[in-house]
């Protein structure tokens, strides 16, 4: 029954990935033909300062954005889990950022952060136009802006996953904690949080995977600038592969990213996933 699905995955994902891996073993230039260089490109990657910087920028982005998204997402989930009038509308409102195409959302943030006619400056400084900040011009604020856009776009998705986790916590558990005299914070800290762990970990996994692959945001907002401050590894891989045409080295970068993520997620599947899935149905 799984055959059609596996066929799809094999043809359009696995085979291309294998193909790419093979390409990463061949030289880019020069010579009369593409020669086999084994793991030469991988060695080159180890000594490429631009790649190192891109990797650090990416790691920073992943850590910062996933942390913030988990925090915001949990906050959102806690709020929309409560019962109040108009909750449906609030839930829908919160989901809107997630439904906006990334390309559009990044253009929007570029527009909002504009140094002259951007809304952010108008809100912060009003008419004092010479106080307006060119957010995307400074390496640090530009990096922050990319993180901000990502957090805005995907916190609601995280919130959705956390909300799902919240909903399977039985009310009784809270009642028990109340009877035991726990304050609201203590209930959150000692009851909600531990029980949310699987949901939080799932959210963390999906977000980490996505954050590692961040591309559209940087492509639209900063093109990696200024001074490579927002150059993430996928964008570097893209530039190498598509713009510079260095097929071998470009795929090497992407394959490396993939391997890093695969190790991460297999680790996850072993620890968390197996618990979720191997529990036999009653």
């Amino acid at each position: 029954m799984a055959f059609p699905a596996l066929t799809f995955v094999a043809v359009f994902s696995l085979y291309p990935a294998m193909d790419s891996f093979l390409l990463s073993l061949y030289s880019d230039f020069p010579g009369p033909e593409r020669s086999f260089v084994g793991f030469g490109h991988y060695a080159e990657l180890l000594h490429d300062p631009v790649a190192h910087q891109a990797f650090i920028v990416t790691l920073g982005f992943v850590l910062l954005s996933t942390t913030l998204e988990l925090l915001m997402g949990t906050g959102i989930a806690l709020v929309v889990h409560e019962r109040f009038r108009g909750r449906g509308w609030v839930r829908a409102a919160v989901l809107i950022p997630w439904a906006i195409p990334t390309v559009v959302a990044s253009q929007m943030w570029r527009f909002l952060l504009n140094d002259q006619y951007g809304a952010i400056n108008a809100i912060l400084f009003g008419d004092r136009v010479n106080a307006y900040v060119p957010w995307l011009a400074d390496p640090w604020t530009a990096f922050g802006a990319v993180v901000l856009a990502d957090v805005w776009k995907t916190s609601s998705f995280t919130g959705l996953l956390v909300l799902a986790g919240l909903q399977v916590i039985p009310e009784e558990t809270y009642d028990a904690a109340r009877v035991d005299g726990a304050t609201a914070w203590q209930r959150f800290r000692h009851v909600t949080l531990p029980l949310l762990k699987p949901a939080l970990l799932t959210a963390l996994l999906f977000r980490t995977i996505d954050a590692f692959r961040v591309f559209d945001l940087v492509f639209v907002m900063t093109q990696g600038g200024p001074g490579d401050a927002t150059q993430v590894i996928q964008f570097y891989g893209y530039k190498t592969l598509f713009t510079e045409g260095r097929v071998g080295y470009g795929t090497t970068i992407s394959v490396t990213v993939f391997v890093a993520m695969a190790i991460l997620s297999l680790f996850y599947v072993r620890t968390v996933g197996s618990k979720v899935l191997q529990r036999e149905p009653a």
Binding site: Y15, M18, D19, L22, L23, Y26, S27, D28, F29, P30, G31, P32, E33, R34, S35, F36, P49, V50, N114, D115, Q116, Y117, V129, N130, P134, L136, A137, D138, P139, A142, T222, Q223, G224, G225, P226, G227, D228, A229, Y238, K239, F242, T243, E244, G245, R246, V247
Partner: protein, 458 residues
């Protein structure tokens, strides 16, 4: 040259011989989809030798971008189809950023897409396209007698190693726009040197501080992207510097002329006149500053003239002047050469018809059409004396010299790599004011030299 072709084309049977037998099967399977259709290659080599009958209808696929004046282009193509009813032009629209367009187009070419006939080439691509074997050499079509009628810089940009690959559709060159009325108010005439520009801008900023606190001295393109290379070329070039040595074999960024020019941009232009906001500007953002009346000087391409005088976009209609870019006292004014060339895909099945189209679009009549209706500066010299063209674009008269001397960016098959290194270098030194320019330049030199060295054996 053929060697480099193979570098870029993914398909090549030779790696198989170097793999152990068990790996061959695996690789052969993966190769199935890489091997181009045999007939594609046939068409590629048999180009021109078997002219297609005139009567049989042909559809040409033309990869282009969405033009700023779509109706002008629609009309041009309609006219062509009227004159040549058996040829139908099918446009494929790619993004209109040079880099994104390049990436999409090269993806198709790398895969030897046989359904692709015509494309635009940015002036920086012919070396890359020629080496990779993607662009059809046009020597037999685009005869020297015809080439003479074009601006020499545009022809040079289409040449690589004695073959011509592109027909200039127009010319672009960097130029200095300025606030005519404002300069007159302070008794200045347009600056001829950069230091003069700084001096004038500062005097005007001082005087206008109360009336327009937003006013900046200079607005240019300093975002980390291809445009940054153009802007910096103009500064470095007008200080007698260059990106590569004259023989094109080594990077020349650590030459004192070059270092000083970069330092001037960092200290005088960015920090004093343009503000770091310019580090986020491409053409449209920098132009917006100018059109809102918030910049004294503005560097841009010829198209800006039309917009600056269009009340729908501009607050400074009629108060704008344009001139050649300034120079350093010991150098000469340098304008980066831009523009787009028509090219034919080496894998096209209809090169003859494709040429018919290019010939038509690059004809004096059509270039005039674009100049008059879309402010695109013609690549044909004669049109700069044409009354209709000059009536629509009076500024051309004074700017012909800019176009005639426009400076190309490095001409090398690895230009995209060189450009990335340059972008990173310039963006870093401008965005991080504490960096040591020389150190950064050395680092960039090293990287560029490494890739140039790889090409030397070709």
């Amino acid at each position: 040259m053929n060697g480099f072709h193979a570098v870029f084309s993914i398909a090549s049977s030779s790696p198989l011989r170097r793999l152990s037998p068990w790996a061959v099967g695996l690789f052969a399977a993966s190769l199935l989809s890489n091997v181009p259709f045999a007939h594609c290659r046939d068409f590629g080599t048999a180009r021109g030798s078997s002219p297609t009958l005139v009567s049989s209808p042909v559809t040409l696929h033309f990869v282009t971008w969405k033009a700023d004046h779509p109706r002008v282009w629609d009309e041009a193509i309609q006219r062509f189809e009227q004159v040549h009813p058996h040829i139908h032009i099918k446009r494929e629209i790619a993004p209109h950023s040079s880099t994104a367009y390049h990436d999409l187009l090269t993806q198709k070419l790398r895969n030897r897409d046989g359904s692709l006939d015509l494309f635009f080439m940015d002036v920086i691509w012919p070396a890359e396209f020629a080496t990779a074997g993607w662009a059809l050499p046009l020597d037999d079509y685009f005869l020297p007698s015809e080439r003479e009628k074009f601006l020499p810089a545009t022809i040079a940009s289409g040449m690589y190693r004695h073959h011509i690959y592109g027909v200039p559709s127009r010319i672009d060159g960097g130029m200095l726009y300025y606030r005519k009325a404002l300069l007159e108010k302070y008794g200045f005439s347009p600056p001829s040197t950069w230091h003069e520009l700084v001096h004038q801008a500062q005097a005007i900023l001082e005087g206008e501080r109360t009336t327009n606190p937003l006013l900046r001295g200079y607005s240019g393109q300093f975002k980390q992207y291809e445009g940054l290379v153009c802007d910096m070329l103009e500064f470095v070039g007008s200080h007698n510097g260059s990106f590569l040595t004259d023989d094109g074999r080594r990077s020349n960024l650590t030459a004192p002329e070059s270092l000083q020019a970069v330092q001037f941009v960092r200290e005088q232009i960015i920090q004093r006149l343009a503000t770091p906001a310019a580090l986020t500007y491409q053409e449209s953002e920098s132009l917006a500053v100018f059109l809102q009346g918030n910049a004294v000087f503005h560097r841009n391409w010829p198209y800006a003239w039309g917009l600056a005088n269009d009340p729908q976009y501009s607050k400074i209609v009629g108060k704008v002047g344009v001139t050649t870019l300034p120079r350093f006292s010991e150098g000469k004014s340098t304008a980066a050469l831009g523009g787009w060339l028509y090219g034919i895909s080496a894998y096209s099945r209809h090169p003859a018809e494709a040429w018919t189209f290019i010939e038509f679009m690059a004809s004096p009549e059509m270039q005039k059409h674009f100049a008059v209706h879309a402010s695109l500066a013609p690549s044909r010299l004669a049109l700069y004396a044409d009354p209709e063209v000059l009536h629509a674009n009076p500024q051309y008269k004074d700017l012909l010299s800019v176009f005639q001397t426009a400076q190309p960016r490095p001409r090398t098959p690895v230009y995209p790599i060189v450009s990335h290194v340059l972008q990173r270098y310039f963006s870093r030194v401008l965005a991080f004011p504490e960096t040591d320019i020389r150190e950064e330049a050395q680092e960039a030199d090293r990287k560029i030299n490494r890739f140039l060295a790889l090409l030397r054996d070709l």
